[in-house]
């Protein structure tokens, strides 16, 4: 993972935190709260500094990484007419939205858990603009449009000006390029100001290691900037340099994507603690073919081959372990998979693929000792589910590893076929399916 989405609220908080360092000449009053319930909102309104929740008309919307909230009818900005939403209206609306599952136009389903509540900003359509930045190929690209709002995708080509900013472009050149591309549709009196803002926006995006940053719309009233809607992704590989600047940032699971299962979570936690790599995604918990594959590339090839030869429905999981995991890490990983694969019955029996390419530096015998320990523990269950195990691996110390696992299978009475580098890496999938 490199680019990870953050909440609109957190994105705005980062803006606010660094506003004075980046946006000289412009003003932004960060009035936003993030709440998980109506009561939390009501409580918040009693706190010092949040009096505006009682004093100003409000806007409320879910803050859960999905877009097109307007089209999904998930933005509260009016009861009777725009700008008449009170605190209690917002709280009631949140209560209502949380009382049932929500289905988006895209088909994603789920419960709403996080809401952002802000003051309503009266403004005209003409004061709404669009600005965003991201990386395309190897360059940063800044997008600007005189038309903000949700319609921007329609007619992108005509309405949006693009400025390509190669990584080695000087600030002077960048500033010149941005100013030269301020959209024609912006009123003349505002062009200069918008250009200045766009330049500072780009520097902010760049220095804070955003991978994607979009404000749509941004409302410019004189020198007052109102960030009405914001989408942001951070380059999380820069996290170690940005601890101070990002603050304690959360990377939530996207809406509609089911939360990770406890098993996936446990593997992800083990992965975070380890120098090695441990990944697990359950694709179909009732699937017949389970894989325990070493290496990022090999794991993809096995998944490809299983989908080709058996069909994607039979593929139960995707995952990989690599980078020299310890014996106990491998054992934990194997036990997790063995446990998952012995939960549902399949009349045809189960297939377990212990696969991998020829390792560069991982000691095969060492990682196999972890798998063998897990086999010891789960042998009876695996037999109950008529599991056929196919092993293929090469690399440092592979002869010993293969022999050890074969011996263990014989001792435990498990069905197992074992192959080394002479056999094509994915050929065991074919063999397993032909049985």
């Amino acid at each position: 993972m490199a680019q990870r989405a953050i909440r609109e609220y957190d994105g705005k908080a980062i803006f606010a935190k660094h506003w004075n360092d980046y946006f000289s000449g412009f003003h932004y009053s960060f009035k936003s709260v993030l709440v998980t319930s109506a009561d939390e909102l009501r409580e918040k309104a009693k706190e010092h500094g949040f009096e505006w929740l009682n004093q100003e008309p409000l806007v409320a919307k879910p803050d859960m990484l999905f877009g097109k909230r307007g089209k999904n009818d998930l933005v509260l900005f009016k009861v009777e007419k725009p700008g008449d939403v009170t605190l209690e209206d917002a709280a009631k609306w949140i209560e209502e939205k949380q009382s049932h599952e929500v289905t988006l136009l895209t088909g994603q389903k789920g419960m709403l858990t996080h809401f952002i509540v802000e003051p309503f900003t009266p403004h005209t359509q003409e004061q709404e603009y669009y600005i965003s930045a991201t990386v395309v190929d190897n360059d940063d690209v800044l997008y600007m449009s005189a038309e903000g709002g949700m319609e921007v995708e329609e007619g992108w080509e005509e309405k949006v000006n693009e400025v390509r900013i190669p990584i080695n472009m000087s600030d002077e050149e960048m500033e010149r390029a941005v100013r030269a591309n301020v959209p024609a549709g912006i009123p003349d009196e505002a062009k200069e100001r918008f250009g200045s803002f766009a330049i500072q926006f780009f520097k902010f995006y760049r220095d804070l290691n955003f991978a994607y940053l979009e404000i749509n719309p941004i409302v410019m009233i004189g020198n007052d900037m109102h960030i009405l809607d914001l989408v942001a992704r951070l380059d999380d590989t820069a996290g170690f340099m940005m601890k101070e600047k990002w603050g304690d940032i959360e990377f939530p699971t996207p809406f509609g994507m089911e939360d990770m299962s406890p098993e996936e979570k446990a593997i992800a936690e083990a992965d975070a603690k380890s120098g090695a790599s441990l990944k697990l995604t359950i694709l179909n918990p009732e699937g017949r073919i389970w894989t325990m594959v070493a290496g990022g590339g090999a794991s993809v090839v096995y998944a490809d081959t299983i989908a080709d030869l058996a069909g994607v429905k039979d593929l139960a999981n995707y995952g990989e372990y690599s980078g020299g995991p310890t014996e106990s890490e491998t054992q934990f990983y194997a036990e997790t998979i063995f446990d998952l694969m012995t939960r549902y019955e399949d009349p045809r029996g189960k297939i377990l693929i212990i696969g991998g390419a020829i390792a560069n530096f991982t000691d095969v015998a060492k990682t196999f000792t972890g798998i063998i320990k897990a086999l010891d523990k789960y042998a009876d269950k695996l037999k109950e589910h008529k599991t056929k195990i196919y092993v293929r691996r090469g690399g440092p110390n592979y002869e010993k590893g293969l022999k050890d696992i074969k011996d263990a299978a014989e001792r435990l009475g498990l069905y197992m076929e074992v192959y080394g580098p002479d056999t094509h890496v994915t050929d065991i999938v074919r063999m397993a399916l032909e049985k």
Partner: protein
């Protein structure tokens, strides 16, 4: 850049002392019979060692260790590959420093996974601007079979030989994945004649060189007869290859496959494989890329499982056409199964041959008068592993003679004499005397060299030097004599100065010291440059004239080399005093009580 990535002469600087990876490289070097080890030097920022031992076949060699890249480069100008094994936190800085060294490095390989994307892009761009090839980040590297291999690529030496990576084959191989690189090499060895050049470009989103960079070079490389590309779902790099094939820039046959066809079955939530592997658009899917490549005339199998057969088919056709000819299998040197690291290292003498040698010279070639060699020559061989010119060995002998003795009253000689009178053996008496040598006895030679050199190196005027020493609270070592003065000069000093003026190519530090002496003697007549000072200072001048760097001379001073001349010379005198005592058979010595001030108070009781 040459069309060949590496040759048998390519040498690398390895950043980070990753012992197992370096050992793999040296094992490979031995197996393929390289003359020079492929790792010229190691940069280990936190190590204070000067070298690391590695096996080279059954023997061991020492690979020099440096604290930073600049030092390594200054000693190993011909090493034009940097293997950057720094962590994701520092890999960028290490690469940038190397890139800014101009034309030192042709290739930089970066192994770290997860370098911040913006930094990776900056690094890649800076390398490109300077004509440097970056392989990685997040890669196991590259190999030119039979010539040079980076770190762990290819795996164990057994696998390397099984996969025929110890000698050049005909295929050019480029993959994203490092694990599958190995696998492909194995497939190519089983179904064709092996690899001529192979690169794993790395799994991060922004890598310094992409498929097309390597394939265009391989197109020019006469050793490569056909090319194999293993791509991945995500990104559009494969389309550049398609363009090059369509436009005729690439004419050699290309076999290609993109892995990750599975991704089409799942929405964007599942991350398959590497960070770079995620399709943002239809044309980035594995299917679309495989179809487009097939359409462009690239050999594309129906699945990864069919790849071996396709490689075999293309290879067989090229054999039939005569493009590829039979490869003669070379002799392979084998690595002994059990190797024991040596506990001791000796770099000065060797007693294993017919006759023992001093730094390569048989003892008989330096021992007798007809060889024309003196003890100064023997010292230059055994202490410095060099053949010093005559003026220098003469100077060394002059020093030894000058410091040989200074009468019975000095503390070392006195100790030796007292011990001899206690009936101890020659060696016991001698070490008693020698153990007195240190900062206060004989130390002025060391001290003079150290402080005068420091002042001279920092361009201090004599006034500044005096002020500096006063601030440090140290009397200037090598200045001052009990009775000698300008008007009554020390003959030993006169002799040394005369010799130096006549035979030394230059005496820069002595010249400086004499300006200091002018100042000190103007304050007090006996504050002259004494014999210890003169020796220490002239030793520095000798080493400067012999071409040692200031750092090397500082190291000599730090390690106590100057002291060693005093120890060696004065040993002659001590032995003289001990033998003198033995001859005289003087009784046990007891110091007269009237020469001791007794001032003993009753001990205080502490509650």
């Amino acid at each position: 850049m040459s069309s060949r990535l590496f040759t048998k002469d390519t040498q690398a600087i390895f950043w980070n002392n990753n012992k197992s990876a370096i050992q793999r490289m040296l094992d490979y070097d031995y197996v393929i019979g390289r003359e020079k080890p492929s790792v010229a030097a190691i940069v280990a920022p936190t190590s204070s060692n000067k070298f690391e031992k590695f096996f080279y076949g059954p023997d061991e060699i020492m690979v020099p260790l440096y604290r930073n890249t600049a030092d390594a480069v200054s000693e190993h100008k011909s090493a034009d590959v940097l293997l950057n094994f720094a962590s994701f936190r520092t890999a960028y800085d290490v690469s940038m420093e190397a890139i800014n060294m101009g034309d030192q490095f042709k290739t930089i390989m970066v192994t770290a996974e997860g370098i911040p994307e913006r930094l990776a892009r900056k690094m890649n761009q800076a390398a490109k601007d300077n004509g440097i090839l970056i392989i990685g980040p997040a890669t196991v590297g590259a190999i030119t079979p039979g010539a040079f291999k980076i770190a762990n690529i290819g795996g164990t030496i057994e696998n390397i030989i099984n996969s025929k990576l110890h000698r050049a084959g005909s295929a050019g191989l480029v993959t994203r994945s490092g694990g599958l690189f190995n696998e492909l090499c194995n497939i190519i060895s089983l179904n064709a004649d092996g690899v001529a050049e192979g690169v794993a470009i790395g799994g991060d989103r922004f890598v310094g060189s992409v498929f097309i960079d390597h394939l265009l070079r391989m197109e020019e490389n006469p050793d490569v007869k056909y090319m194999i590309l293993l791509g991945e779902v995500g990104g559009t790099e494969e389309y550049k290859v398609i363009e090059a094939v369509k436009s005729g820039k690439i004419k050699k046959p290309v076999i290609a496959w993109c892995i990750g066809t599975i991704a089409k079955h799942f929405s964007s939530g599942v991350q398959f494989g590497h960070a770079g592997a995620s399709a943002n658009a239809e044309r980035e899917t594995a299917e679309a890329k495989n179809a487009a490549m097939r359409e462009a005339g690239i050999h594309v199998p129906n699945s990864f499982n069919d790849l071996p057969a396709l490689i075999n088919q293309v290879y067989t056709d090229l054999r039939k056409e005569g493009v590829i000819t039979e490869i003669e299998e070379p002799e392979v040197r084998s690595i002994p199964k059990n190797r024991k690291p040596k506990n001791f290292i000796c770099t000065i003498s060797d007693d294993r041959g017919e006759e023992a040698t001093y730094a390569g010279f048989p003892i008989s070639s330096v021992a007798t008068p007809d060889t024309g060699k003196g003890i100064g020559d023997v010292i230059s061989l055994l202490w410095f592993k060099k053949q010093y010119p005559k003026w220098a060995t003469d100077f060394i002998e002059t020093v030894l003679k000058t410091v040989a003795d200074h009468g019975p009253a000095v503390s070392g000689a006195h100790n030796a004499k007292v011990t001899a009178r206690a009936g101890k053996s020659v060696v016991e008496c001698l070490v008693t005397g020698l153990l007195t040598i240190g900062p206060r006895f004989g130390g002025a030679i060391d001290g003079a060299a150290k402080y005068f050199k420091y002042a001279n190196d920092n361009n201090m005027t004599p006034q500044e030097f005096l002020a500096y020493m006063k601030k440090e609270g140290i009397p200037i070592p090598g200045i001052g004599h009990r009775i000698k003065s300008l008007r009554n000069p020390d003959k030993r000093v006169e002799g040394l100065k005369k010799f130096a003026n006549e035979y030394f190519p230059s005496t820069s530090l002595l010249d400086y010291a004499l300006t200091v002496e002018q100042l000190t003697t103007s304050k007090k007549d006996n504050l002259i440059l004494n014999v210890d000072g003169t020796i220490g200072i002239l030793m520095v001048d000798m080493w400067r004239a012999l071409g040692y760097t200031e750092e090397e001379i500082d190291e000599f001073i730090e390690s106590g080399t100057l002291n060693s001349f005093f120890i060696l010379g004065r040993t002659i005198g001590f032995i003289g005093h001990v033998l003198d005592e033995k001859r005289l058979a003087m009784p046990m010595y007891r110091h007269p009580m009237d020469d001791i001030l007794y001032d003993v108070q009753p001990a205080e009781k502490i509650q």
